[in-house]
Subunit: 189 residues, 2 copies
């Protein structure tokens, strides 16, 4: 169950560059607790990079102690290789959250842009500018992956109370969530 008191940790998963951004309520607004990117060494073998990413994500969860994770959802449109790579990074984050009992919500890039800028087709620079304004940051967060992660956290902080009001206390499930769950279910033999 979502806890108003703790920060929400946004995760923009990637093996090469994984954005993170923790946001908490402060007064009538929101404040950034931590943000940045985890990079892995391009020259290292993939297993070493994933091991390093998992360790860094684990340290991040220990440090931030988030009440919830907001993770970017992969769109249908991306190609197989991108989906595979994002899946590898997000799988590590989700497994760590599952082990720690932290609830996880997913949002598509368009949902996040719509929530933060009011327009689902907004560009990276628009998201960076709006995130800086909403969080009273001196400068737009850089790189864009860090801004995207902060935007994911903001999107969750806004939408989670609405979801609770709309339903029975469980997180609402989008059609895409249901489709992904069905794809996993089809694996069962």
């Amino acid at each position: 169950m979502f806890d108003h008191a703790g920060p929400v940790l946004g995760i923009d998963p990637g093996v090469s560059c994984c954005g993170y951004g923790a946001v908490e309520r402060r007064g009538s607004g929101f404040a950034a607790v931590a943000f940045g990117v985890i990079r892995t060494a391009p020259g290292d073998p993939l297993p070493s990079r994933l091991a390093a990413l998992s360790a860094d994500l684990g340290h991040l969860l220990d440090e931030v102690r988030p009440a919830a994770l907001a993770v970017e959802r992969v769109l249908f449109q991306v190609n197989t290789r991108t989906a595979m790579s994002v899946g590898q990074a997000s799988g590590l984050a989700l497994a760590l959250a599952g082990r720690a009992g932290i609830p996880v919500a997913h949002y598509s890039p368009n949902e996040v842009k719509l929530a933060v800028t009011g327009w689902g087709g907004a560009g990276k620079a628009d998201v960076q500018t709006m995130v800086a304004t909403l969080l009273s940051l001196a400068a737009p967060p850089h790189p864009p992956d860090a801004a995207d992660a902060l935007a994911l956290a903001l999107c969750h902080l806004w939408s989670a109370p609405l979801r609770r009001l709309a339903g029975d206390g469980r997180e609402a499930r989008s059609g895409l969530d249901a489709a992904v769950a069905a794809a996993i279910a089809r694996e069962d033999r």
Copy 2:
């Protein structure tokens, strides 16, 4: 570096059902050390399932102490959701291997079928039958995911010496490996 003395652990990654099969050289042939599947509870949230899968894979590596992992590679043809799900499962296995310093090789389903049955288009039952014959098992390994994992291990045991003879001691890299590496590299900004 591949070690002739240790077993090779084949992994057929999946969130719902993850096949594993450990094979070692014995005399002039091969023997199965362990095989089976790791299943996660279909009704549980995805983060819990991934946490359980990661824990089980960790126990498996501790038990088998493999000299190498042979992991099934996702084909270009699969859809985004399947790639995402297989990516999540394989990411956990690769991260554990990376942390333990275990080398990892990837093989496509067709490479594995070709190695084990002599025909890249062989069916699941053919693979099960041939794996049983090659490993002197009393019955075909079941479910097919376990047979596929044993076949992956056999494929690696056969091809690793050839790769060493062909090159400079490093594992040969297929065009697909290079393409996936390039896709991750493109993430760099």
